[in-house]
């Protein structure tokens, strides 16, 4: 497990950071993009790190920066409020933790304000940023197909959110109208790099509460009485690829133990975790288990996962074997089992 928390999104200032000069003071001309920083944007993009803007400029300055740098920005906060608040809004909009943000600004005052308000954010000067590409926080061990397409997936996610705001009807009806397809299937060796990446990147939806080395995941694939399942998600807006997984340990008598349950934050609110928990219960019941048990960290960060467990009927049990800060949640399997939503397919199961 790597100790550095990976940066998922870099938030850039415009004036004298992304741009060589000050946007408003240069009008009607506009300052060129800093070529070194533009190169940095492209390099980080290839590593699956996305970019956003926080600037004291009108919104058209962000549009101009996208053209000038040739880079796609997944969010732009243009205004005169505190930059720490802009960063918090960017993180909330992307459903990621503020601790997964880095912030680059030439102004020491702005860096100090963000650093004081959001101590988990990596705060950098433009000079620091050039060096930071070598730091572990900016160097994911593997870069998967999902990672390379990440900026586009956030853009499609934004379009989906706008469509949902305009949609009148239940959330389930919306998922159906989007032609949501959730596919649950046994993991193959080809999935190991993405499973490793997912285990390192997920924080809100990771029942293990930490990353898992690729070798450990590969070893689980062949382990006796162990199943590793992947969850893929697509709809008419985008193919999100592999967004979730779980490991089931069948060695206990009549209990399906789940040492790892994880899902990409990008898939939140799209029926994925609920489908996986419903499928888990059905699978466990068919194998003769009386209960499913999921150890889960109890912290502010794990609230979304605890909500999904509560919704699926899991309850905390006293378990001496649970590590500190963690609780085992258990779902006793009744009959009949709830049916899987019609958008879930499980190849290999009738």
């Amino acid at each position: 497990m790597s100790t550095a928390v990976l940066v998922k999104c870099v938030v850039w200032d415009l004036d004298n950071t992304l741009l060589r000069g000050t946007y408003l003071e240069s009008l009607p001309d506009r300052p060129p993009a800093d070529p070194a920083i533009s190169g940095l944007l492209a390099e980080l993009g290839r590593r699956g790190i996305v970019h956003a803007i926080a600037s004291r400029n009108p919104p058209e300055a962000a549009e101009y920066a996208a053209q000038a740098t040739g880079c796609e920005f997944v969010a732009a906060e243009c205004g005169w409020g505190r930059k720490s608040e802009a960063l918090a809004r960017i993180a909330a909009g992307l459903d990621i933790s503020v601790d997964a943000l880095a912030f680059v600004d030439d102004d020491p005052y702005e860096r100090a304000e963000v650093g004081a308000a959001l101590p988990g954010v990596r705060v950098l000067s433009p000079e620091d940023a050039a060096e930071a590409v070598g730091w572990p926080e900016f160097s994911p061990a593997v870069v998967t197909e999902e990672a390379r397409r990440r900026a586009g997936l956030y853009r499609q996610r934004h379009r989906r959110q706008q469509a949902e705001q305009a949609f009148t009807g239940s959330h389930e009806d919306f998922l159906r109208a989007c032609q949501t397809e959730v596919t649950i299937a046994a993991a193959s060796p080809a999935d190991v790099p993405r499973l490793h990446e997912l285990s390192e990147r997920t924080s809100q939806f990771n029942s293990a509460g930490q990353g898992l080395p690729a070798e450990s995941i590969a070893a689980l694939l062949g382990a006796p009485a162990t199943d590793v399942l992947t969850v893929r998600l697509r709809d008419r807006f985008a193919d999100d690829g592999l967004v979730g997984a779980c490991v089931i340990d069948w060695r206990q008598d009549r209990v399906a133990a789940v040492p790892l349950l994880m899902m990409s934050c990008r898939a939140i609110g799209r029926g994925v975790i609920d489908s996986l928990l419903t499928w888990l219960a059905g699978r466990a019941a068919r194998r003769g288990a009386a209960a499913v048990q999921v150890p889960c960290p109890v912290s502010e960060r794990s609230v979304p996962l605890r909500l999904a467990l509560a919704r699926a009927g899991f309850r905390a049990i006293a378990d001496q074997a649970a590590r500190p800060g963690r609780t085992v949640f258990r779902c006793d399997l009744g009959t009949p089992q709830p049916a899987l939503p019609d958008w879930v397919t499980v190849p290999g199961e009738a």
């Binding site: 909330a92 609110g269 979304p304």
Partner: protein, 104 residues
């Protein structure tokens, strides 16, 4: 106990209806009855809308439901949630304006 500066159950239930309607984007939830299950068919609370709801409750009432309720039983119905919040609300914490969603 309802006293000056301390909102009673009816006020809190109304606030929670507003928060639920906003979190789910379904204005009809503003007329929710107290016995409606929040996770089930009635409201269909999930990880996303549930996280928004709990965050708003913390901002507006100063009550951290997830920290105090391991199994999140408070989210059984609107009535159980109202009681839970009502028993713990700190009067000074109540924000009457729509709280701005700022993330975590």
């Amino acid at each position: 106990m309802t006293g000056p500066g301390r909102p009673g159950p009816a006020v809190i239930a109304d606030e929670l209806r507003q928060v639920l309607a906003a979190a789910t984007g379904r204005p009809e939830l503003a007329a929710l009855t107290l016995d409606t299950p929040l996770f089930g068919g009635g409201v269909g609370l999930d990880s996303l809308t549930g996280t928004l709801l709990l965050r708003q409750i913390r901002q507006r009432f100063g009550v951290d439901v997830a920290a105090e309720d391991l199994n999140l039983d408070a989210l059984t119905t609107l009535g159980t949630l109202t009681t839970f919040v009502c028993d713990r609300v700190v009067p000074d914490q109540v924000v009457s304006d729509r709280a701005v969603y700022r993330g975590s």
